[in-house]
């Protein structure tokens, strides 16, 4: 397949996303279709989770059945905040028409959704369930919502800070049969260009490499229906090119989420939050996992002051067994 020449249509400042569209000379694109696509129609679905606030000291319940959440400050999972921020930036750069935030769990999830709406999401969806929701269930519920909402991209935090599962994004991609770009990160720097491993970069790699000079992490091509995601791996950065629709999960360094401003809080008040139950989405809430016990990590032992080097060596050898 021949590669059509591409032009960069828009670069929005502050956004890590660039829209790539074939230039007018590209023969295989129908001109009518091209004009029609100038107004974006893509919808982005963002999953946001309500968790114990990142700054709260976690306490284990006395019966070891879980973590105490009663009278504890709850907030949006920080990774989800980043996911939402990325979706909002994509929309601001003119590539998406709507950002829909989804949260699942008890009725208080509405507060988290309100935060999302105050940040700038257009609509909210609350799947209400008082039962514990595990990643597979959440993935199934998201898949059911995809059938209703038909988004072009789903963006999720790479994991939630409460259970640290890091599974939902991968599972929903698997269930939908969509490609996935996990741990999207915007650590691209020109100096790091050489370290990049280009994986499955397809035909637009030459252009993407040029774009690195602009210090941009994520690329989306709505015309060709591909997204390029840059992710951190052990030995540097990896760049993936995904067919749309796709699932993207976000890592910490992708962006810095915005604050909820008073004007946006005001606007959020009139935004709609639609409620579903798992039954309405035909998903059975069950778990194949049983939590046996939750315990605190062992307390750090107090240090001792040794009186001589010999004593230190003795302790290192016979107590710590490290030499």
């Amino acid at each position: 397949m021949s590669v059509p020449p591409l032009t960069i249509l828009s670069i929005s400042e502050g956004s890590s996303l660039i829209l790539l569209l074939p230039s007018q000379s590209a023969g295989h694109i129908d001109p009518g279709e091209s004009t029609a696509k100038k107004t974006p129609t893509m919808k982005i679905l963002v999953a946001i989770k309500r968790v114990v606030d990142y700054a709260v000291k976690i306490r284990v319940k006395s019966d070891k059945s879980g973590v105490e959440t009663l009278n504890v400050k709850m907030s949006m999972n920080p990774f989800c905040e980043i996911a939402l921020e990325e979706a909002l930036r994509i929309k601001q750069s003119g590539l998406a028409s709507e950002v829909v935030a989804v949260s699942m769990g008890p009725s208080q999830c509405v507060d988290t959704l309100r935060t999302g709406l105050a940040m700038g999401a257009d609509r909210g969806i609350h799947v209400e369930s008082t039962a514990s929701l595990y990643p597979l269930t959440v993935a199934k519920l998201l898949k059911a919502l995809v059938d209703v909402e038909k988004p072009g991209v789903i963006i999720l935090g790479k994991q939630a800070i409460d259970d640290d599962c890091n599974q939902t994004g991968q599972m929903v991609a698997g269930l939908l049969g969509w490609p996935q770009g996990t741990f999207a990160s915007k650590e691209a720097r020109l100096s790091r260009l050489k370290k990049l491993r280009i994986v499955n970069f397809r035909q637009i790699s030459w252009l993407a490499l040029e774009v690195y000079a602009l210090d941009v992490g994520v690329l989306l091509d709505t015309e060709k229906q591909v997204a390029t995601v840059e992710r951190e791996v052990d030995d540097g950065l990896e760049t993936l090119c995904l067919d749309l629709p796709a699932v993207i999960t976000t890592d910490l360094r992708l962006n810095q989420p915005r604050y909820a401003t008073l004007p946006n809080i005001m606007k959020a008040k009139s935004k709609v939050i639609k409620k579903y139950t798992p039954q309405e989405l035909n998903v059975e809430v069950k778990s194949d996992i049983e939590i046996v016990e939750v315990t605190e990590p062992p307390k750090r032992k107090a240090g001792v002051i040794v009186s001589s080097v010999d004593e230190l060596i003795d302790k290192l050898r016979n107590e710590a067994h490290v030499i």
Partner: protein, 548 residues
């Protein structure tokens, strides 16, 4: 040039940090900017260059040779000097390792955290209980050895470091929590407990300390009580005069005064504990305190707002008191100059408000028991204020991380000022409507020569007026003092809202207190500490205290 301004040259026992070396005069601590051994003395001052201070200034007696320059603070000749018998007595009482003569450890105890005041004590004592404090004081009193009580040494007015060779009594080892009553919320603890440790202890119990301040990681409750520290939650929980239910103090002669009540109501005779709250260790050493602590409420909301003029800030304050009354827990302000400093000098701090530059920034915190009710209430209040034009922009923290980043801006102002260079600090209580006029007048007076910054506890009418200068400079100082004090006095304000008088403002007390009142204070001092050994040269004007 100094001789023309003798009034301001008060603090001879002061050291300035490296950045200040080479200047001709500092603020109220003018002369001894060359105590650091590796620094060369300022050549412009002949008298100083001949002083043997380059070796760490270990001969305080020589200060007197300053003549008229040093008349304001002279070492009281009635005080004895340490001898080896004293040391063996202290070692007998406290044990070898709690009698510190190590130079490095003394160095830390001799200098305040701003590096503005430096004493030359050769002895640091670390008592572990009230009895030991009592024995030390009884002995020092009989020997006429002057002492300086010390806690976390985070004071801002030179009250917690020696001026000359006073023996430092640091109560940091007395850091036990004695009792906590979960029903009444009354905490009884020793004076050396670090405020932050008490905060986290109480947090585990579901309570909060009624005071919170930037120095919480180092400051100790005994010092807080002795200074009557104010801080960030004052607007909600009020003064320590209300929250401290009782205390134990050791008098100069070693007598232990047990006033460690845990009663909210007790009208039996004179309530003498109040004498020790805010007297800066000049009447006795506080060794234990009992404090009423409020229950910790689950819902905390914080908004960071922008106002375009000071009148709007005032209106917002009175509206907030009316509409958020029962949940309002902080109402802080900073001006755009303070904001610029924070953004330029502190790492990782960003302005939460993206658009344009604003003239004033406010931080409003609410603390209540119902998350959604409180949030709704605060939002409604803010949206209304925005519609009526009082607020030009604002953000509401959505999680604790965001909340801390808002607090970081307000709490980071002093730190940013320190990094910016020399700073003249004034802690003033003023009528709210007059408060900012002083900042504007100072700005006009000083013009381009210095950066005048205003911030503080608007909700309490407490202004922190700070003048950030390229160097400590007599001409700048002459523009500020006594103007600031006179201005404050004229508007019936206080020249010390929450920092105390210490060494810095001991002689300025008359700007805020009448002669008769100060005279009575001196009589009380005389009664409780006839030899004047407790924290000498501080709090009260030197002229009133004659030592015999």
């Amino acid at each position: 040039m100094r001789e023309t301004e003798p009034k301001r040259v008060e603090c001879v026992a002061a050291a300035l940090s490296r950045s200040q070396i080479g200047i001709t005069s500092g603020y109220d601590c003018s002369l001894l900017n060359n105590v650091q051994s590796d620094s060369s003395p300022p050549e412009t001052i002949d008298k100083i260059t001949s002083l043997p201070l380059g070796n760490g200034g270990r001969n305080p007696q020589l200060y007197r040779s300053f003549g008229s320059l040093a008349t304001k603070v002279e070492r009281n000749p009635s005080f004895s000097s340490l001898n080896s018998d004293d040391l063996s007595y202290f070692k007998g009482v406290l044990g070898e390792k709690n009698v510190v003569q190590d130079e490095d450890r003394l160095e830390t105890a001799n200098i305040d955290w701003m590096h503005k005041y430096k004493g030359f004590s050769k002895l640091l004592l670390l008592p572990r209980n009230t009895e030991e404090v009592s024995k030390i004081l009884e002995y020092c009193n009989s020997r006429r050895l002057a002492v300086v009580p010390q806690g976390g040494n985070t004071g801002l007015v030179g009250g917690s470091v020696p001026v000359f060779d006073e023996v430092i009594i640091n109560v940091g080892s007395m850091n036990k929590i004695i009792a906590f009553d979960k029903v009444s919320g009354i905490l009884v603890c020793e004076a050396g407990c670090i405020l932050e440790n008490l905060i986290s202890y109480l947090d585990n119990q579901g309570f909060v300390m009624p005071l919170d301040l930037g120095a919480k990681g180092s400051c100790q409750i005994g010092g807080n009580v002795s200074t009557n520290a104010g801080g960030l939650r004052f607007v909600r929980y009020g003064s320590l005069h209300g929250n401290v239910l009782g205390l134990e103090a050791v008098l100069a002669n070693g007598d232990v005064l047990d006033m460690l009540g845990t009663l909210r109501k007790d009208n039996t005779g004179y309530d003498l504990k109040h004498l020790f709250i805010g007297s800066e260790g000049s009447l006795g050493i506080v060794t234990k305190v009992s404090i009423l602590t409020p229950p910790k409420l689950s819902s905390v909301n914080i908004a960071f707002l922008a106002c375009e003029d000071y009148l709007s800030c005032q209106k917002l304050l009175s509206e907030a008191k009316r509409k958020l009354g029962e949940i309002l827990s902080a109402f802080e302000f900073l001006d755009s100059h303070a904001m610029d400093l924070v953004l330029n000098h502190l790492e990782g701090v960003r302005n939460p408000l993206s658009s344009a530059v604003h003239n004033f920034y406010l931080l409003i915190e609410t603390t209540g028991s119902d998350e959604s009710y409180d949030k709704e209430k605060l939002e409604a209040f803010l949206l209304h204020s925005m519609e009526s034009g009082l607020i030009s922009d604002g953000v509401l923290a959505q999680d604790i991380n965001q909340a801390s980043s808002f607090w970081r801006i307000r709490e980071g102002v002093p730190e940013a000022l320190m990094r910016a260079g020399p700073v003249y600090k004034y802690d003033l209580s003023l009528p709210v409507e007059k408060m900012y006029s002083l900042v504007e007048e100072m700005r006009a007076r000083l013009g381009q020569s210095a950066n005048v910054v205003g911030y503080g506890h608007l909700g309490d009418g407490n202004l922190h007026l700070n003048v950030s200068a390229p160097r400590y400079d007599d001409t700048i100082l002459a523009q500020i003092e006594p103007y600031v004090y006179e201005w404050t006095s004229k508007h019936r304000g206080s020249i010390s809202a929450e920092h105390g008088l210490g060494l810095m403002k001991a002689n300025e007390i008359f700007y805020s207190k009448s002669h008769g009142t100060v005279q009575l204070m001196a009589s009380i001092k005389k009664l409780l500490d006839p030899n004047g050994i407790l924290n000498p040269y501080k709090v009260l004007p030197r002229s009133l205290l004659s030592y015999s």
